[in-house]
């Protein structure tokens, strides 16, 4: 028996390799460096991410598959690479000072962030359901650990345990769904082959539906869509704030990348069925998220519910299932990455040392004490609420247009009414900052350079891509050409 090793190009997974090698290097350096000696792991991680970004730019425009059709090479994946790299880099930047305050500025933190990013890239580029599952697990396991980083803190422990147990269940659902599809398709899990093979045997129709349903459960959990959102507030509140930020943007983006690709590519034949389910989920998700956010007084919890609501808007883009929907998904996720990370950056700064001030009333009077910081927070809040001229508005505009174009006018109306509800709790932060006096002297805000840079960069980004969305729109349009069925 002879084995032939199929040909492949390492360059097509260049960004993965770079990040993996950087992560391992960080771990080794951490182990070798004497105790107490500070090694700048964050710079190393940033360097790795920068190299990965350059490699992605080099890959941009390439097409086809590699590694025996296991990996897609297309702009859809590369667009998501950028989102993940951006999310990870901004997370690394806001983390350092925050972790040092806790005495937790450890190498493994950065290594885990990088490993999670690699997992996300696998999810975005996976051409085979098992690849997507592997990516999901690589990402999830890293994030489970990150959520429990503060192991002396009960809340952090609770968050990690909850996330692990529920996450493991959801992975099982996902895997079970894949097994159903494997059976129904007569033994293949390649996304390219699935559409033809699934329709081949009418007797298998129910098995296909069951499999797709289970996939929705699995992905729904990762994107925090109702009714699989229960874990989100507790985990987001308990996890270290920088990890929460990472989960809210990058993990969600990765799950949506896989969600969109699998459903758009593999199941166009039963679009009617899954759009119906997702319609209900989208409505439930945004309504639950927004209504529950109204009554939150902890800013992390509020942002957790708000992230659930945003998952609902993003699901609208999936429901629309047209080209504009796919474009809006990409644009919205990028915009959301910027505005949400910016908001979490402000939360970390205002929280001062060790998250002491994460109640929304701690923002009272911020407008008078720190006008620029307050103005940035107001900008992020208005952006999250979807008010022009910010990226959040353009994102919502695209999502709603996709829904209207696909004929879901009621869904769009429910969506805008939800935005109205969300305006209330986002506005409340600005009310507190500008219209209420400070309740107590909370001490000065320490502006560490990296964290300040994150807030400034994201604020500029939110405005820039909000006012000039054109080029990004064209990039996203280019990226979604891979879905011929839309």
């Amino acid at each position: 028996m002879t084995f032939t090793i199929p040909s492949f190009h390492l360059s097509s997974i260049g960004p993965w390799l770079t990040l993996t090698v950087t992560a391992i290097l960080i771990l080794v350096l951490d182990a070798l460096s004497p105790k107490g000696r500070k090694v700048c792991f964050s710079w190393l991680a940033l360097a790795g991410l920068a190299v990965a970004a350059f490699q992605t730019i080099g890959l941009w425009g390439s097409t086809g598959t590699d590694f025996v059709r296991m990996v897609y090479l297309d702009n859809f994946a590369f667009f998501f690479y950028f989102i993940f790299i951006l999310g990870a880099a901004l997370t690394v930047l806001i983390s350092r000072q925050y972790l040092e305050d806790y005495g937790k500025n450890m190498g493994e933190y950065y290594a885990l962030i990088l490993f999670a990013t690699v997992g996300m890239m696998l999810m975005a580029a996976g051409a085979h359901l098992i690849m997507i599952f592997l990516g999901l697990e690589i990402m999830s396991i890293a994030v489970y650990v990150l959520a429990g980083l503060f192991r002396e803190d009960l809340r952090s422990n609770e968050a990690a345990l909850k996330y692990l147990i529920l996450g493991a269940f959801s992975s099982a659902f996902l895997l079970f769904g894949m097994a159903m599809l494997y059976g129904a398709s007569g033994g293949t899990l390649f996304l390219d082959d699935l559409p033809l093979r699934l329709g081949a045997d009418p007797a298998m129709a129910y098995l296909v539906l069951l499999g797709v349903g289970l996939l929705i459960v699995g992905f729904g959990f990762k994107v925090a869509a109702a009714p699989f959102h229960m874990w989100t507030p507790d985990v987001y509140e308990g996890a270290p704030t920088s990890v929460t930020a990472f989960m809210a943007v990058a993990v969600k983006a990765a799950a949506f990348a896989a969600f969109a690709r699998v459903f758009f590519l593999a199941f166009p034949a039963i679009k009617v069925d899954w759009t119906m389910v997702l319609w209900v989920m989208a409505v439930a998700t945004m309504t639950i998220g927004n209504v529950a956010a109204l009554s939150q007084t902890n800013i992390k919890r509020m942002l957790a519910y708000s992230s659930i609501a945003h998952a609902g808007y993003l699901l609208m883009a999936l429901v629309a299932a047209n080209q504009l929907g796919a474009v809006s998904l990409l644009y919205y996720l990028l915009a959301y990455t910027l505005m949400n990370l910016g908001a979490f950056g402000v939360v970390i700064l205002v929280g001062r040392k060790k998250d002491r001030y994460i109640n929304i009333y701690d923002y009272s009077g911020l407008g008078a004490q720190h006008p620029v910081l307050a103005a940035s927070m107001a900008l992020f809040m208005f952006a999250l609420a979807g008010i022009p001229p910010t990226a959040g508005f353009v994102g919502k505009f695209y999502v709603f247009s996709a829904a209207v174009q696909a004929g879901y006018i009621w869904l769009a109306i429910i969506g805008v009414m939800n935005s109205l509800v969300s305006v209330f709790y986002y506005l409340r932060i600005t009310v507190l900052m500008y219209m209420k006096p400070a309740e107590a002297d909370l001490g000065p805000v320490v502006f560490s350079p990296a964290q300040t840079a994150v807030v400034a960069l994201t604020a500029a980004g939110v405005l820039a891509i909000g006012i000039f969305p054109g080029s990004l729109y064209n990039l996203a349009m280019n990226a979604v050409k891979i879905f011929p069925g839309l």
């Binding site: 709603f400 935005s419 219209m435």
Partner: protein
């Protein structure tokens, strides 16, 4: 090449914000002078619009067009016709006056206040010049934030937050539904013609099935009706007016409310003409209810600002009634009444602001006999009051007369009921005036009130000039709007032929 005046008008305030940001926040006078200078430059820049405006044509003038998001059919497309010209001039005229009015009024966070004021200015002009639905929506929403902050930060401490949030949520509610309607319209237009565009002028005269016009008209109409505000949606207005700082009330009354009526004129009616005809009874009746109800409620108010706020509901009812007559005098009267209301009500809010600065109360009972210590103030107050009532020779008369004339041609009953509004207006305004100005000085605190300073007189001088000008020789202003109105009426006339009844709509037979 022609100078891009409209773009300069929109972006000059934004440049001004940049200048303010680098100034020292502790030097209040300097900040105010800088803002005044910027707003005066803005006014001067807007003058060529008035003088070079060609009143013979209904076409858009001073047009500028740049691609913004070409793949989506969105462009930066601005231009003006007779309708927007007057409103822009009103805006640029009022803003410097507002800055002058803040001289002593605003003492804390001056920098932020001025930034908000300039942002508001950019947004208001943007709304009036946009000829692209997307651009219009962006300006429409952008303008919310500074106004919200003006009310919420510099308003009356007791209830400002409530008023600010109410203002924001009410307006947002309407405009979000309008956003959906804009999108539906965009895709409908794209599907029927093959070109996807947000260009407003192309939307005019597209044949939209009546069933769709019906809902579109309601969605757009809700956004504008909340802004106007028309009768059942007016509840945010008294709160916002009462709690806002003086300048906030002035801008809110003089310009922001006009965006609603302007929206009907520019978007709702020409885009959905058949539905507009269909909805004439509903909107006319709501307008009449607004006229009478606003007037009756005004009569019972104890707070001067609240009184003026409710009188706005009444006055704007006249505007809406006039616009929905689709007759030459009605529509022209409606437009001139928008300007009148901006001048008179703006002036009234300034007047209340000035006595509030002196006495820190706005309750009518706290005053009385003010003509003794403040004669100049009393004279100005009287002119403005009479203008608001509609005394012949002053501006209010021209607007209300034309509107009633137009209404009479269409429906006599409406005209009769609406005319009672004029009588009620005389009642509440004169009664209020009498209680505040005439009689003996009953309250000792009022004895030594200082009369108006030169600065304050300077604020009123231009307002009163125009109040008299419009009253005596309205043709100057009516001529500017004539061509646009004729064009508008011709458009509406074309759609009149289709008769649709309610039962058709709900059976889905209407096409």
């Amino acid at each position: 090449m022609q100078l891009p005046i409209l773009s300069i008008l929109v972006f000059l305030p934004i440049v001004g914000i940049g200048i303010l940001l680098i100034l020292d926040r502790k030097r209040h006078k300097g900040l105010k002078i800088a803002t005044l200078a910027i707003s005066l430059v803005e006014f001067v820049v807007s003058l060529p619009l008035w003088f070079n405006f060609n009143s013979q044509t209904a076409a858009m003038q001073f047009v500028e067009r740049r691609e913004w998001l070409p793949t989506y059919g969105i462009s930066y497309y601005v231009g003006i016709d007779g309708f927007s010209l007057l409103l822009i001039m009103l805006t640029t005229l009022l803003t410097p006056l507002c800055v002058l009015a803040t001289w002593d009024d605003i003492q804390h966070r001056v920098k932020e206040f001025m930034v908000c004021l300039l942002a508001l200015m950019a947004g208001m002009i943007g709304v009036f010049v946009s000829l692209d639905l997307f651009l219009f929506y962006v300006f429409w929403e952008v303008m919310l934030i500074p106004m919200y902050l003006l009310i919420g930060v510099w308003g009356n401490p007791a209830r400002r937050v409530y008023a600010a949030i109410k203002f924001f949520l009410f307006t947002m509610f309407g405009s979000l539904l309008m956003l959906v309607a804009i999108l539906v319209l965009y895709f409908h237009y794209g599907k029927t013609t093959g070109t996807y565009t947000f260009d407003l002028l192309k939307m005019y005269g597209t044949s939209i099935p009546f069933n769709m016009q019906f809902w579109m008209f309601l969605a757009f109409g809700l956004a504008f009706a909340i802004k106007v505000p028309m009768f059942p949606f007016h509840t945010w207005l008294p709160d916002a007016h009462t709690e806002a700082p003086t300048v906030g009330s002035v801008i809110l009354a003089a310009v922001l409310l006009k965006m609603g009526t302007y929206g009907f004129l520019r978007f709702n009616m020409p885009m959905f003409p058949e539905a507009a005809h269909y909805f004439v009874p509903l909107f006319s009746i709501l307008a009449i209810i607004g006229i009478v109800y606003g007037a009756l409620v005004s009569m019972m108010q104890k707070d001067l600002k609240r009184l003026i706020a409710f009188s706005s509901v009444s006055h704007l009812g006249f505007v809406m009634l006039g616009l929905f007559t689709f007759t030459m005098p009605g529509v022209q009267g409606g437009i001139i009444q928008m300007i009148n209301h901006g001048l008179s009500t703006g002036a009234l809010f300034l007047i209340v602001g000035m006595i509030y600065e002196r006495r820190h109360t706005r309750m009518i009972v706290d005053f009385g006999g003010l003509c003794t210590p403040m004669p100049i103030f009393a004279i100005i107050f009287m002119i403005v009051t009479l203008s608001s009532i509609g005394l012949p020779g002053l501006n209010g008369f021209v607007g209300e007369f034309l509107i009633l004339l137009g209404t009479f041609q269409v429906n006599k009953l409406y005209a009769v009921i609406a005319a009672t509004g004029v009588i009620f207006a005389a009642c509440y305004m004169l009664w209020m005036f009498q209680r505040v100005i005439f009689g003996k000085v009953t309250n000792d605190k009022n004895k030594d009130l200082k009369d108006l300073s030169w600065r304050e007189i300077a604020i009123f001088a231009p307002l009163i000039l125009f109040i008299v000008w419009i009253g005596v020789y309205p043709s100057t202003f009516l001529d500017k709007t004539k061509a646009s109105t004729e064009n508008f009426l011709a458009l509406m006339e074309k759609a009149k032929s289709t008769h649709v009844s309610q039962s058709h709509v709900f059976k889905g037979e209407a096409q």
